[in-house]
């Protein structure tokens, strides 16, 4: 079993301790969700894991290797990243974008060979992007773009998948589809997934385990039902919520208004007013 170990990781940005001595262990094939209020340090912890933020203390070890000691190429063969706000290059086509995922497998003087093209082709198929392969990135919808980014990450052929708020720019339908795709792919390819997530209901439905961060610390760690509680959301989010749980939908988080819902009238269909 290849395990990812995050040992005593602290990150200071400016003069602020943003991640404070976090210790985590993620098993092979597990989906770990990082949740927590804004500024809790979720994204910074992910950036420390992928080597984009300098760690003040600690280390990230995968399969016995300290990731900080690896070069960008070796690291990219171990972990693929889906950023929160991917940079969209003007004019670039979807197929070319997905092929960028092969960078760590191509030498300085090399170019894509048949194997690279085949892997990219499989990724396009897995994410139903075949018909869009020659479309330009800047012509895609938000959901299509997010699928293209996931296809690029998949093309890296790495056992670890890191997702930073993958549903933040998507509507409820596309967000759900995105999470289903990640779940299907991780089972098919036995990927280990770590994602920062804002939507607690989706996080509880899809992740095997959640870690709640607050003030840079990992406060709670365990199965979704034990982490997403009315008390934890009151204490760390300052939110008054009701939690409903059931075997068919997992955990649902309902925000409550302090003085009840002000407009309790039934919603009416929009009249033909101009």
């Amino acid at each position: 079993m290849t395990r990812l170990l995050i040992r005593d990781v602290s990150v200071i940005l400016g003069e602020t301790l943003v991640v404070d001595a976090v210790n985590l262990s993620v098993e092979e094939g597990e989906w770990l969700g990082l949740v927590g209020p804004n500024g809790a340090g979720k994204t910074t912890l992910l950036r420390a894991i992928i080597g984009a933020a300098r760690m003040e203390t600690g280390e990230v070890v995968y399969g016995g290797q300290n990731l900080a000691r690896l070069g960008a190429r070796q690291r990219a063969r171990l972990m693929a990243v889906v950023p929160q706000n991917p940079v969209v290059s003007w004019g670039m086509g979807v197929a070319d974008y997905v092929l960028l995922g092969r960078t760590a497998h191509i030498g300085w003087l090399g170019r894509e060979i048949r194997t690279d093209l085949e892997i990219a082709q499989r990724s396009l198929k897995a994410l139903s992007l075949e018909n869009l392969s020659h479309r330009r990135l800047d012509e895609l919808s938000g959901g299509e773009l997010q699928r293209a980014v996931l296809a690029r990450a998949l093309t890296q052929d790495a056992p670890l998948l890191i997702l930073d708020e993958p549903t933040s720019s998507l509507d409820i339908g596309h967000g759900q589809q995105m999470m289903e795709m990640v779940d299907r792919l991780r089972h098919e390819k036995r990927l280990t997934v770590i994602s920062a997530l804002h939507d607690l209901t989706l996080a509880a439905q899809f992740c095997d385990r959640l870690v709640m961060m607050s003030g840079g610390k990992a406060i709670l760690d365990g199965p979704p039902r034990s982490v997403i509680t009315e008390r934890s959301l009151r204490d760390h989010y300052g939110a008054e919520v009701r939690i409903i749980s059931g075997p068919e939908f997992g955990v649902v988080v309902i925000p409550l208004r302090a003085e009840g819902v002000s407009d309790a009238r039934d919603a009416k269909p929009a009249a033909g007013r101009l």
Binding site: A52, A72, A76, G91, M92, A104
Partner: protein
């Protein structure tokens, strides 16, 4: 399923496109060799060119004087124009790629002004007794200082993100400062004024084969590195963070590409003086015609840059004939309006 062969099509240099560009380049070089006050016949020039090929002998009726004009004046000048154009265009494309800024070119980032200052210092030192001091290394050192200052100054604020505007402004400030120092040195050393001015206004007029051999190795190294790194430049289009997670070291790529482009630009500028806008006009024209990929932009910029500057030299030699315009005046005249057009569309090109 998408056919494999079609998958990577958009980023390949189409053979047809490359052949078309090469044909255009050869045509321009041909015109450049034919145009001039000596009025050489096209057929005779062609015969003289073919005659120079190994194992081929072709009769031509050019006189000794005409042959000298062709081989010792027009040919080195035309070839140097093409080499300088190719180098500046590919360097400009590379700067735009690594800085992710459509307005970056050797001139804007202070490379040319730095090289200008280096060349001026070299000319002054030659006049003070260091007569064998070569000009190119000092021009190169000046170019490196220019780009390092521009890049360093644009980085001081907002450590994680440097905006295109800050970079261009830093480049403009550094170029102005270095030009001011150069002007001061010029004016306080009037004996070398003519030589410095002759260098600044473009030196294709006085180019000989030896000048060409002196800069060719630097240019070839620059081209080769940029051609090798053209896929890395494609990866850099997604930004440093993403490029890093894809397996590239953006810092290393930037260092190598900027060094290579600076080497080429410094060699070009040291040979030909300050020629503006080639690094912007050519890559953007290629980009508009052939797409986003640096795998297309770099090789086509090399060919089109060569053709463009050779053509600009023909214009410089003919519009006020028998006098000549400095070639930098011609490229700036064409480049000014083009630059404004790029500015207006830079939101799309960024």
């Amino acid at each position: 399923m998408t056919p494999l062969s079609a998958l990577a099509q958009p980023s390949r240099v189409g053979l047809g496109r490359m052949m078309l560009a090469l044909a255009l380049g050869v045509a321009v070089l041909g015109v450049a060799l034919l145009v001039g006050p000596a009025g050489l016949e096209m057929g005779e020039v062609l015969a003289a060119l073919v005659d120079r090929l190994p194992l081929v002998e072709v009769e031509n009726s050019l006189t000794e004087r005409e042959l000298t004009i062709l081989w010792e004046i027009r040919m080195p000048r035309t070839v140097m124009g093409a080499l300088v154009g190719a180098t500046l265009a590919s360097a400009g494309a590379a700067y735009q790629g690594v800085f992710r800024n459509p307005l970056a070119d050797p001139y804007l980032l202070g490379v040319a002004a730095g090289a200008g200052l280096g060349a001026t210092v070299a000319i002054l030192l030659r006049a003070r007794g260091f007569s064998s001091l070569p000009l190119a290394p000092l021009a190169f050192a000046g170019a490196v200082v220019g780009v390092a200052l521009s890049y360093g100054l644009s980085r001081t604020r907002g450590r994680d993100r440097r905006s295109s505007t800050t970079l261009v402004l830093a480049g403009v400030a550094v170029a102005s400062f270095l030009t001011a120092v150069q002007t001061f040195l010029q004016l306080t050393n009037v004996t070398t004024l003519r030589e410095v001015y002759s260098w600044i206004l473009g030196r294709l007029v006085t180019v000989g084969w030896n000048d060409l051999y002196a800069v060719l190795p630097y240019m070839v190294v620059s081209w080769l590195v940029l051609l090798i790194f053209r896929r890395a430049l494609d990866v850099m289009t997604v930004g440093d963070d993403e490029a890093s997670t894809l397996g590239l070291s953006p810092r290393m790529v930037r260092l190598i590409v900027v060094s290579a482009a600076t080497l080429g630009a410094a060699a070009a500028v040291s040979a030909s003086g300050l020629i503006a806008f080639v690094g912007i006009i050519v890559p953007h024209t290629v980009r508009l015609l052939a797409g986003w990929s640096y795998r297309v932009i770099i090789p086509l910029s090399l060919v089109m840059g060569g053709a463009f500057l050779a053509a600009a030299d023909v214009v410089a030699r003919t519009v006020v004939s028998p006098a000549e315009l400095p070639i930098g005046v011609v490229t700036a005249f064409l480049g000014g309006p083009f630059f404004l057009m790029v500015l207006r569309t830079s939101g799309d090109l960024e």
